[in-house]
Symmetry: C2
Subunit: 325 residues, 2 copies
Amino acid sequence: MNLTALLLASTLAPSALAQDPLPSWNDAAPKKAIVAFVEKVTKSDSPDYVPPAERIATFDNDGTLWAEQPMYFQAFFVFDRVRALAPQHPEWKDKEPFASVLKSDVKSALAGGEHALLEMAMATHAGMTTEEFQKIVTDWITTAKHPQTGRLYTEMVYQPMLELLAYLRANGFKTFIVSGGGIEFMRPWAEKVYGIPPEQVIGSSIKTNFEMRDGKPVLVRLPEVNFIDDKAGKPVGINQHIGRRPIAAFGNSDGDLQMLQWTAAGSGPRFCLYVHHTDAEREWAYDRNSPIGRLDKALDEAQAKGWTVVDMKQDWRLIYPFEKR
Amino acid sequence: MNLTALLLASTLAPSALAQDPLPSWNDAAPKKAIVAFVEKVTKSDSPDYVPPAERIATFDNDGTLWAEQPMYFQAFFVFDRVRALAPQHPEWKDKEPFASVLKSDVKSALAGGEHALLEMAMATHAGMTTEEFQKIVTDWITTAKHPQTGRLYTEMVYQPMLELLAYLRANGFKTFIVSGGGIEFMRPWAEKVYGIPPEQVIGSSIKTNFEMRDGKPVLVRLPEVNFIDDKAGKPVGINQHIGRRPIAAFGNSDGDLQMLQWTAAGSGPRFCLYVHHTDAEREWAYDRNSPIGRLDKALDEAQAKGWTVVDMKQDWRLIYPFEKR
């Protein structure tokens, strides 16, 4: 290439290719739809322009930003807490679902479904101050390993979604997590891992009580549900915390459907995306019949409404950051 | 002045004076304390440096950012709603506290204290969708006038506090409202008036329910308390919404004491400020014996702990923006 051609090439091909903000997304329909939406709402002369203050994007966490198989990662945390606290609770040896956890019988432990998990969360996530709980979570999340991959759970986040979060923020969006998981379970690491500060994390919660202990104010965690941020609870949580309707929402299961419906129903440009777990080799493949992260009714609605559906196997060049070479 | 002196002066006196960020604050102790704190936490070589993500500042609203006499401004809104809805509630004619409101007997209407106010709020702030309520608030706040000043309520905000909010934000702080008032009563106008977006407004709330109406998702407001963001509720609300302890907090009454205690108890530099209403001429003078905005226990604690106390009469050059000339 001579100098003229080189100059010409550098003029004609702007740095877009070199600076692709979504390099882990294959050049397929979902990536194109994301970029088209972002350009449409950020160009000041666009009829669909949205001022930065209204560029709210909400993301489910389990199965959308990080993996959720063979069970929600917080369930592993709950089980580890049950084991750690067992010496103080001799009665758990004969009491389900605790007894099954202590016998490492996961299937029986989870036979009671979400209710069983909630019961164990109440028993193990309450009774301490918020600062004490934050330390427990931080100690666990920086050391516990996934039983199948041997990776830290925070390594099992989706590289394409990390790029999407950064791309949206670079375009003036505020990115929020809206998860059925525990708000205080996510906050200690969400900023480091996702770049999402605690005030932009919405999740399920238990009640806390303000107390003075030796003249020092503390918030004590109570074994009482405050809010369940799942299904119809997601729009409620969004309204409570954000007070403004998102213009973009991202989920992967039927539990996210109401969030996407709520987002889609606003006036002006909207973007709704479902992550469909189709890659049994690099991750997991599951949808309509999965007890975790079931995607059934919402898959039908996504197709009917023309929402973007990511086929993980086809559309993502990488799944996890550790695959990068 | 010759050229050398002029150059020297412009070197020695940077544009600080011309660009005073707090022009409505007299050059007294509170202003100096604010500026010293902000400089200390923002200078990167300061031992007290705080990274921007942790620069959280929380503000009470009633009596701290806007006036609250002769009663909370939201109470005027409640009374106006009772009058507006009375035709649909013939039973209110004989039922307290509604009957007294309809007879314009404010004193009797408020004889039941906060409980009476809450009862009327439940009866008038629920039953519609969140969008409908937002419109009702917006219509009211842009037209209703204060009975004594004849001003819009949003004109009765404190000019020095508007400057303080802007000054903190210019220095990388995130500013939050943490008010006992209704979260959905403040959000429709807080961004325009204070520059505080809805996701940074924390307040008392009622429950909402996600419903489909004619295929359209709505959030319906229920006559059931969700959260009371006052006194010991303020640190709870801060933890729930922000998930990070403020480094600066601003209040004016005993209802803010726990917020300031919670703020002060963190490690590292902290700033706590009380607005003391001392100006009977330009605003109102009240403290230990006022039924609205009582400042008694907290005034003692502020003095004992060395928190900054603003004497409105002495320390504020202007009270309201409309006084500007």
